[in-house]
Amino acid sequence: MKTKKLISLLLIAALLVFSLAGCGSKTNEETAGTGENVTNADTKDEIITLKIYAQYSDDDTKIPYDYAVEELKKAYPNVRLELDIQAQDDGQKLQTYAATGNLPDIFQVGTSQIKAFKESGNILVLDDYAKSTGFDKKLHQSTQSLLWTEDGHAYAFPYAGNELVLMYYNKDLFEKHGVKVPETYDELKEAVVKFKEVGIVPLSIFAKEKWITTALYDVFATRLDAGGIKKLDEGKGSATEDAYVTAAEKLHELVNLGLLPSGATNMNYDQAASLFYEEKAAMFINGQWEIQASTEKLGDKVDWMFYPTFNENPDAKYAFSGGGAPGGYAVSPHSKHKDLAAEVAAFISEKYCEAKYLFRANPLLAIQLDPSLQPAEKFPPMMEKLANELPNITSTTAFAWGLTEPKYKVAIEDQSQFLLTPKYSPKEFITELDKALKNLKN
């Protein structure tokens, strides 16, 4: 008897749920229907909703987005944005959107995605819009290539400028232990040994993230060849060249001497940064956007150094790692309001730049801002120093997300992380990297 009850209960529950599900879908259809009505009556006074797929999860992404939305209300009172938060899923969701023809009107893309989307007709060519909105005029000389890709067309409005990889260090710790701030590889090696002896981690790194391991390798590679990891991405040169082999060997040598904290490849940002902030680590590697946080925690104890140079090539002081790459806000060619969406995309990108400058102490932007804009707080000294040195920088490379060949990107990311473990060998590193590059050419 009991079973009967159980079964009927289950069945009733099922019915209930299905009718609910039915209702749910119905109301949805209705709203979808009304949405269509709006688009048909495409008049100036009607409110137009644009779907936007963007990052929105921490201060670095929320503040610019919220600022842009506020500004948009003023400039385009009839436009509403419907935000779809971007997942940390290696672009899986965006790709599915594209495959099913559901692309949002406006979406953030990285360098490697532009290529695949271009080939499959899923990204709008923005050349005309860049000109009509005047976005192209606002670019710096050095950021032209962030809008105009290799094929001469524009696919996304960039906001990030030529950002850089910096090596931060704790001045106090160096002084206290009588270690010279390294300018050459030998001095760096000496510093590693000395810090290791007194139980201080020489260099903290959140090597669970593979882009930062790529950046560390790139720092070493650019000591010998200013092209760094970007040169290989462009199909010039080969991984077996001396510069790349020596860079791997030297980096691995330092790793074996104890350059990194134990278990570095499993450390996230919070753990690695805390080692540096609590003065358990002497150096820290991250992008220049770290300046604000480090200054907050360490005050005037913290500074950044030029990457130590190698004897083989002492002139590499101003060859930097990092740099900008095409990417930013793109527009779907299937959008019902693509002209408007393109205009809005350009607008949002510009407002992102403003927000980064005003509230995030970040002057490395894609476009020039109105000189009347003044940041809320004075820039930290490290940023002043960087701004002074910017004109001297002779070359930059790319962050991992700025590489154009996804296959190569995966290989260099995985392999550079591997290289940071003592049991891996530089030989394996070079072999695997070479294999991946040869595969690209086939």
Binding site: S120, K409, T421
Partner: protein, 293 residues
């Protein structure tokens, strides 16, 4: 009786809804996997047919070899840990003499209930080399046994397998427990009379009677191991380097990180075949005959 069991209409009603649903939602995409594995394709554009090239490349790929090896380690680890320990715990929780057996029954299953993200974060903290609990315990005990658990190319996979085995032990435990409870008591009465110890009774009666359950548990552990993904995804990202890749992770990485959907599908096809063969072999090996009480 024969007519009763071969009632064609009844069979159709019982079987067709499932088969139709399954064919459309699972099997049809599966066929796509196999077809796309013969293409060079980025997941969006048309793609070009390249025959067996993806498969030939697989066999030269170091990551593929690592992935296969890791899948086997994972499967073996799950089998030993979950079925072995699951059996022992289920015996204890089914024994009327065990005090607090209802408590054990609920508690041993609890890790399954938690979200996998929580569990992975917990074990990440435990195994962390700098701040982790495990190394701290070794330190307190004065043992010089500090380890880079998750950053060592040879150890990471075992740690990940352990985390998976630990969390999902509850499934196997619950299944074995249910199996034990449905064995009629008169078997134990008979063993009683023969003067067998409880352990002997379990070895002679319970385990053989559970062959259906064990067959299923074995399939679950082995295919689960070969298919492992979430732990790698959350805890190591396949790292350090590529050392904790499995076929599923390799498929994910190739398809979405590297934009080589076709190549990823070749790895996926290989994985599905591997699991299918494992299932068929297990079905052949473990006793087939119907148990009659």
């Amino acid at each position: 009786m024969e007519r009763f069991f071969s009632n064609k209409k009844a069979i159709a009603i019982f079987v067709l809804p499932t088969l139709i649903l399954f064919t459309i939602i699972v099997f049809y995409p599966l066929i796509q996997i196999f077809i796309k594995s013969f293409y060079s394709w980025n997941g969006l554009s048309k793609g070009t047919f390249i025959g067996f090239k993806n498969y030939l490349r697989l066999f030269e790929d170091t990551t593929f070899k690592i992935s296969i090896k890791n899948g086997l380690i994972f499967a073996l680890f799950l089998t030993i840990y979950q079925i072995g320990l699951g059996t022992v715990l289920a015996f204890a929780a089914s024994n009327v003499k065990t005090k607090g057996r209802n408590f054990f029954r609920i508690v041993y299953f609890l890790p399954v209930v938690l979200s996998v993200t929580v569990v992975c974060q917990l074990w990440l903290s435990v195994f962390n080399s700098e701040y982790g609990l495990l190394n701290k315990i070794f330190q307190i005990m004065g043992m010089d046994f500090m380890q880079d658990w998750l950053s060592d190319r040879n150890k990471a996979i075992y740690v990940l397998a352990f985390v998976n085995a630990w969390q999902y032990l509850g499934y196997q435990f619950a299944l074995i427990l249910a199996g034990i409870k449905s064995i009629p008591n008169h078997y134990y009465e008979a063993a009683q009379i023969d003067g067998a110890s409880p352990l002997k009774a379990h070895l002679k009666i319970t385990i053989p009677m559970l062959s259906e359950t064990y067959r299923f548990c074995l399939v679950l552990a082995i295919t689960g191991g070969l298919n492992a993904f979430t732990q790698m995804f959350i805890m190591t990202g396949g790292g350090p380097g590529t050392s904790s890749y499995t076929l599923t992770y390799m498929m994910y990485s190739s398809s979405f990180r590297a934009g080589e959907y076709g190549y990823g599908m070749a790895a996926a096809s290989f994985l599905v075949l591997e699991c299918l063969i494992a299932t068929i072999v297990i079905n052949r090996l473990v006793a087939r005959e119907r148990i009659v009480y």
